[in-house]
């Protein structure tokens, strides 16, 4: 009888719909950098129409920056859709968002700087700088070089592909995962190939590289990012999640989990990349564009490092993608694109450079999974964006 009394009470109390957070509109107020242009850019109408078209497909919100190095117009920044669906706040080009794995290019740049300073070499074994705990039972971790990890040619199993990790993540969506907990999902898993014989994307590589940076520099890798990249490039919209996992002013992220263009708030669900160098970056397209320009123009790495970074290796599984060090080359209908993209739960971002056109395009959206991905991160979507920008 106790059960019969308690069960309905339990059901009634949990039948409540949890309302999304009430956030004051002022929380999202931000200033567009003075060197950026919006309405006063000659291509504003064309670029804004592109964003409006993407939003009209079912993307909650999108920010974009376009910079043509060949003209004097300066970077265009724009946005469409909402930063916050609950509070009906329009997205602004200066808002901040999660940009996930784009951080891997920052990890690579940091390591290339350390190579330039003679603190390590690309072709030495990464295990020299890794704890036994980190390499334990991870096949190839003791033999892969730093170059192999940067290039995804280590063969090391990608923990994110583990069904055990994926279900565990879904089971505890607000858990904040520590590096060793993530590495546990790569332990005991067969490597995909011997180091240096192929390439295959693996987040595990970049968790290990974060530890290499920390060992060499004696401080958290994200502090090294701040000192070597964020501050020198004046990336005022950029931070790392470990410092403040969910800043008050971060735009809300949404997931279309069931593929019906019905989204729910996932702002607090990205705890698996707060503390590792394979994700966790908070930024926006304007800052991503500044960073990518600094890389392409060798402002923060040497010519030699850039040559190492862009020594492309083809993948046996995808002939359109070539792997560099923390950077990819995608073969598109409009020429090569040097790029990196990144996901978090509820967020996606991409930054690319078109060398044949000398144009930088970066964009970030606050929705993913289900039907949304095809509008923002598929090759078709990327080519659509490039086409519209080049028109």
């Amino acid at each position: 009888m106790v059960f019969i009394l308690i069960a309905p009470v339990f059901i009634m109390t949990t039948c409540a719909v949890v309302e999304d957070e009430i956030v004051a509109i002022a929380t999202y107020v931000c200033e567009i950098p003075p060197e950026a242009k919006n309405l006063d850019h000659p291509n504003h109408a064309k670029y804004q129409a592109l964003l409006d078209e993407i939003v009209a497909q079912g993307v909650p919100g999108i920010m974009m920056t376009v910079y043509n190095q060949a003209d004097a117009d300066g970077p265009w920044v724009g946005s469409g859709g909402k930063a916050d669906l609950k509070n009906r706040v329009d997205l602004k080009p200066c808002n901040i968002t999660r940009v996930g794995s784009t951080v891997k290019m920052l990890t690579a740049v940091t390591l290339l700087q350390l190579v330039e300073e003679g603190k390590l070499t690309l072709d030495e074994k990464a295990a020299v700088y890794l704890s036994d705990q980190s390499t334990r039972d991870i096949e190839n971790a003791k033999t892969a070089t730093i170059r192999h990890l940067l290039q995804h040619s280590s063969g090391i199993y990608n923990y994110i592909q583990s069904a055990r990790f994926q279900t565990a993540s879904l089971n505890d969506l607000t858990k904040e995962w520590k590096p060793q907990e993530l590495l546990d999902y790569a332990r005991g898993r067969k490597a995909n190939f011997s180091p240096g014989t192929d390439v295959d994307y693996s987040n595990t590589n970049y968790i290990l590289l974060g530890e290499v940076i920390e060992k060499v520099e004696g401080k958290p890798f994200y502090v090294v990012f701040q000192e070597r990249i964020f501050h020198p490039l004046n990336l005022s919209f950029t931070s790392f999640a470990a410092v403040d996992p969910v800043p008050d002013n971060i735009i809300r992220g949404y997931i279309d989990l069931y593929g019906k263009l019905e989204v729910t708030d996932a702002t607090h669900f990205s705890g698996w990349d707060y503390y590792t160098a394979d994700g966790g970056l908070i930024s926006n397209p304007y800052d991503l564009q500044l960073f990518l320009r600094a890389v392409i123009n060798r402002e923060i790495i040497s010519d030699l490092s850039f040559a190492e970074m862009t020594e492309w290796v083809s993948s046996s599984s995808n002939k359109d993608i070539f792997y560099g060090l923390g950077m990819f080359k995608m073969v598109t209908k409009f020429g090569d694109a040097y790029m990196h993209s990144g996901d978090a739960i509820g967020y996606y971002a991409s930054m690319l450079y078109l060398p044949e056109h000398e144009i930088y395009i970066s964009w970030a959206v606050n929705g993913n999974y289900g039907k949304i991905d095809e509008f923002t991160q598929s090759k078709k979507a990327i080519e659509f964006i490039i086409k519209k920008v080049l028109e």
Binding site: F3, I4, A7, P8, F10, I11, M12, T14, C15, A16, V17, V18, E19, D20, I22, V55, A56, G58, P60, G81, K82, L85, K86, A163, R164, T167, A168, L170, N171, D172, L173, T174, K175, Y254, L257, Y258, G259, K260, L261, E262, V263, T264, D265, F269, Y369, G370, K371, D373
Partner: protein
């Protein structure tokens, strides 16, 4: 902030109907509490984080010998995952109990079910070019399941005795996200009691 949504009270109503319906029948009544976890099959018992559930059901005997019996169980359950969904489900399970002399029962079962889940968070639907808040009508799922467990009968000689039991149940939720994630795997770690009506 929480808001009580009166439109979800039908699930309470359904449960109440089942409670009284099964109590009035001449078959044993089974009640259970459990923790649901999203996990790959056979990955062990998970009690954290807590995704609580309750279940009530009954058993219809099919065949019985001195050492085993088969039966059909009908269960109504409610599950609450605080970040994703709450769901009501009805399951039909073909059960097999093996009776041991000292009162223990080895229990297995295989079955199918229907689950209707609702978001626990506010939902925004894309319509006419923008997202706006909409009431959730839920998602329908097919849920095949298997279970393993151990029971203890208060009367060792009688299969229909009042019994305490613990079960580990594995079930699939499909379709989950068509074109993205075809199915999702779950486990329930369950304890309960069967009350004989004899």
């Amino acid at each position: 902030m929480h808001m009580r949504n009166l439109f979800h009270f039908p699930c309470v109503f359904i449960l109440a109907i089942a409670v009284f319906g099964t109590l009035s029948a001449q078959n044993p009544v089974e009640i259970s509490v459990f923790n649901e976890s999203t996990s790959v099959p056979f990955s062990g018992i998970s009690l954290k984080p807590l995704h609580p559930g309750v279940q009530i059901g009954t058993e219809i005997p099919w065949h019985e010998t001195n050492h085993y019996r088969t039966f059909l169980s009908i269960n109504l359950r409610y599950i609450f995952h605080k970040n994703l969904y709450r769901a009501i489900a009805i399951n039909l399970e073909l059960g097999y109990d093996y009776k041991m002399d000292f009162g223990a029962t080895l229990k297995t079962g295989i079955g199918v079910g229907y689950l209707h889940s609702f978001n626990v968070k506010e939902k925004y639907r894309f319509e006419a070019g923008s997202y706006s808040k909409k009431a959730d009508i839920g998602n329908s799922r097919f849920t095949p399941l298997i279970s393993f467990g151990l029971g203890y009968r208060f009367n060792p000689d009688n299969f229909n005795s009042t019994e305490l039991f613990a079960k580990q149940q594995y079930w699939l939720e499909l379709p989950y996200s068509p074109g993205f994630i075809p199915l999702m795997s779950h486990a329930n770690t369950m304890v309960g009691a069967k009350f004989s009506t004899e």
